[in-house]
Amino acid sequence: MSAELIIETSSLVKRFGRAKALDGLDLHVTEGEVHGFLGPNGAGKSTTIRVLLGLMKATAGTARVFGLDPWSQSVTINRDIAYVPGDVSLWPNLTGGEAIDLLTSLRGGADAQRRAQLIEEFEFDPRKKARTYSKGNRQKVALIAAFARQAQLYILDEPSSGLDPLMESVFRRQIERARHDGATVLLSSHILSEVEQLCDRVTIIRAGVAVESGTLADLRHLSRTSFRVSGVADTSALQSIDGVHDVCQVGDTVECEVDAGAIPAVLTELAAQGASAVTAAPASLESLFLRHYSTAQ
């Protein structure tokens, strides 16, 4: 890879007593990309992020952010980071506006115009005391604080889980803007459509280990394609091809899942049998996700 690595962890291990939250995690995020960080609850996403922010010390392995060690140089690193936690907790007696100003000031001060614009776009009332805000509104505080000042790296931990669809689209626009400005984004999520729309590359993490990493195209390559064909008489021939799964016949149509490597063989067979209609759809991230999660059990 020619582009510079903004985040790099290798064989990262984090133990809490006997439990291993991270078990040799490798994560590479290059400059300028929006990187999806996918995994089920408890997979170690938030722990990884806390290590990257210097809040927790890795038990073993190395982590580098901007080429620096986050544990010893978090102050330098965090100057260029904007962070939105998954569960935003605010100071009950501060108003939303005061919390935004505090957080941006600690990073060096907000761009006043952008702050005002974000407050308007997110339809946020900054004058209320934080204890009266709902989950979504607390998340808006963290999002506005993060985007109101330009950062080199945005670390977002399930940032839109409390937002309604309208606000989610505001959020997406901000990610696009950050990407346009050349910033790097690490977006932890389990909302697949969001990752599919926003991310250039994805790392899937399960039980503290990265199980897949690559562009969406790469991952789809690893995954299966769904076929729906008509006019095929002999399904047993299809079934006998290595890499064809879940063949089922509904009336005139046959459906099956095909591994990437088996696609040429399937096409040859379909041509030989004189199929009258073929629909092939790339596997959604959903099915990719399900495949990895289900093997976890």
Binding site: R50, G54, T76, P85, S89, E98, L106, R131
Partner: protein, 539 residues
């Protein structure tokens, strides 16, 4: 009713350790005081002299309560009751707030209210839990006093008085939580009301009239305005009287009933006092870590300062009244001369110095409370937000330590000024202001030790910060207030920083002790700042 019982079981289970510690601790204190009086004051002449010391010194009457004869039980009751009653009251208010307003604020109550329960079911369960906790307290305290060697019958009455005061404050807190929007605010107001009950009783007792033999003091009517005064009026070890307890029980019933009605009529999350809209942008002070630490402590500190202004005004206003009373009674003045030979100190000074000592404990409490914010910030995830910005942990912890130290100084100074102004006003002696302000500040070095030690606990054992922070302060307070009475070994008494404070203006300022206390504070605070960098920020 079955649902209420289920809630009660859940609340009791959640509280099983907290309440065991409270009840066991208060029982142990009863055992210790009873045992100490039985062994150290076995001879009646010794008891007569200590009782005479109380009768002649309104400061003791104010702090401890009323002498009620020379029996062993009466002397133990005099030494221990008001303090024990305050502990029972605080146990009760914290219990109620924890299960009602605090849960409501955190959104747990919403989950419960969505089930087919009556709106006030949770409050009912909490009131029953408060009743059971105080009933257990009666049993344990009665056992403690009896095992300590006090007469059985009187011990039962004394324990009933403690438990009834506790129960009364279950009712008080149940009403307070209906009025305030937050658990923190409710805890503050309910605890302040406990303080008011203690102060009112103190004023009434200090203005009481002694009998001719100097074995007994009849309180002024003011003591009858305080529930703790009612508990004391049972006089368990002389002429036991249960009627004042009926007053406490009736008060509890009325308050609890009011709270239940208020709860069943109000919306979830609503309160009498509610939030107004605030600023949409932060002012300059709200844009830094130090500003944040200050902002978080501001309102609480104001509460502490108002509290000590009241205390100082009482101390300063009461002193001259007491001195006048003594002047009018030559036999009393002669007795003081005999009891404390060589002490030529002004009676007003003795009285005031004792109160300023209490002020030192309050200042430490204000400082410790400010440090404990660090842990709450961490546990509730806000530390993460701050530390994910280019703010180092050193800066984060230091900012809070600065605000905590300033809180200690503010509480001491305020108390000293209030006392001095009150005395200056009645005696037309303007030097009193400077004299008592510096006297109050003499207690600050001991108080800041607690601030630093709490910070160290936070750095090393974060999960125990809140328990140990308050626990160490209570231990320091008990050693300071009861150490000599319980004849604790000298080294143990020396461990308490308060033991090294100078009771200015009665004593001279011990400069070496001040320097040592400040040195310890500095070393411990630096250790805390260094060690906090080595651990994970955890929830």
């Amino acid at each position: 009713m079955r649902a209420v019982m289920l809630l009660l079981a859940a609340q009791a289970r959640r509280d099983r350790w907290v309440l065991s510690i409270w009840i066991g601790g208060i029982g142990l204190l009863g055992l210790a005081v009873g045992g100490a009086i039985t062994t150290s004051f076995a001879i009646e002449a010794e008891r007569a002299s200590i009782v005479a010391l109380f009768v002649t010194n309104p400061a003791f009457l104010f702090l401890r309560g009323l002498p009620d004869g020379l029996s062993i039980g009466a002397v133990a009751f005099l030494q221990g009751f008001s303090f024990t009653a305050v502990l029972a009251a605080l146990m009760s208010t914290f219990l109620v707030v924890r299960h009602t307003r605090a849960d409501e604020e955190l959104g747990r109550a919403e989950l419960l209210c969505s089930t087919p329960l009556r709106r006030n079911a949770e409050l009912r369960a909490t009131i029953i839990l408060g009743f059971l906790a105080n009933a257990s307290l009666v049993v344990v305290v009665a056992a403690g006093y009896t095992v300590g060697g006090l007469p059985f019958g009187g011990s039962i009455v004394a324990a009933l008085a403690v438990g009834s005061v506790g129960l009364f404050f279950v009712g008080v807190a149940a009403v307070v939580v209906q009025a305030l929007p937050t658990g923190r605010g409710s805890n503050g107001v309910a605890a302040a009301l406990v303080g008011v009950a203690y102060l009112v009783r103190g004023i009434g007792d200090a203005l009481g009239t002694p009998n001719a033999q100097l074995t007994q003091v009849t309180p002024s009517w003011i003591s009858w305005l305080s529930p703790i005064g009612w508990g004391q009026a049972t006089r368990p070890y002389s002429e036991p009287m249960l009627t004042p307890l009926l007053l406490l029980l009736a008060g509890f019933a009325v308050l609890a009933g009011t709270a239940l009605v208020l709860r069943s009529r109000r919306d979830l999350d609503s309160s009498l006092v509610s939030d107004r809209a605030g600023a949409s942008t932060a002012r300059f002070g709200g844009r830094s870590v130090l500003g944040l630490a200050w902002r978080l402590q501001r309102a609480t500190l104001l509460g502490w300062c108002v509290g000590v202004v009241v205390l100082g005004a009482i101390a300063g206003g009461l002193g001259p009244v007491v001195a006048q009373a003594l002047q009018d009674n030559p036999s009393l003045s002669a007795l003081i001369g005999n009891l404390v030979p060589g002490v030529t100190a002004d009676i007003v000074d003795i009285f005031t110095a004792a109160l300023l000592g209490i002020g030192g404990v309050l200042a430490a409490a204000a400082g410790v409370q400010a440090v404990l914010r660090l842990r709450t910030e961490e546990a509730e995830g806000r530390a993460e937000l701050v530390l994910a910005t280019p703010v180092s942990r050193v800066r984060w912890v230091s900012a809070t330590l600065i605000v905590s130290g300033a809180s200690v100084l503010a509480v001491c100074t305020t108390l000293g000024l209030a006392t001095g102004v009150a005395i200056a006003q009645s005696s037309a002696d303007m030097t009193a202001i400077a004299r008592f302000t510096s006297a109050a500040l003499a207690h600050a070095p001991a108080a800041v030790v607690f601030v630093a030690v709490t910070a160290l606990v936070f750095a090393v054992l974060p999960r125990l910060t809140i328990a140990l922070g308050w626990g160490l302060l209570v231990i320091g307070l008990v050693i300071g207030q009861f150490g000599e009475l319980l004849q604790l070994p000298q080294w143990l008494q020396d461990v308490s920083p308060f033991h090294h404070s100078s009771a200015v203006p009665v004593e001279d300022l011990d400069v070496v002790a001040v320097l040592i206390l400040l040195g310890i504070t500095g070393v411990v605070a630096v250790a805390a700042i260094v060690l906090v960098r080595r651990r994970d920020i955890t929830a």
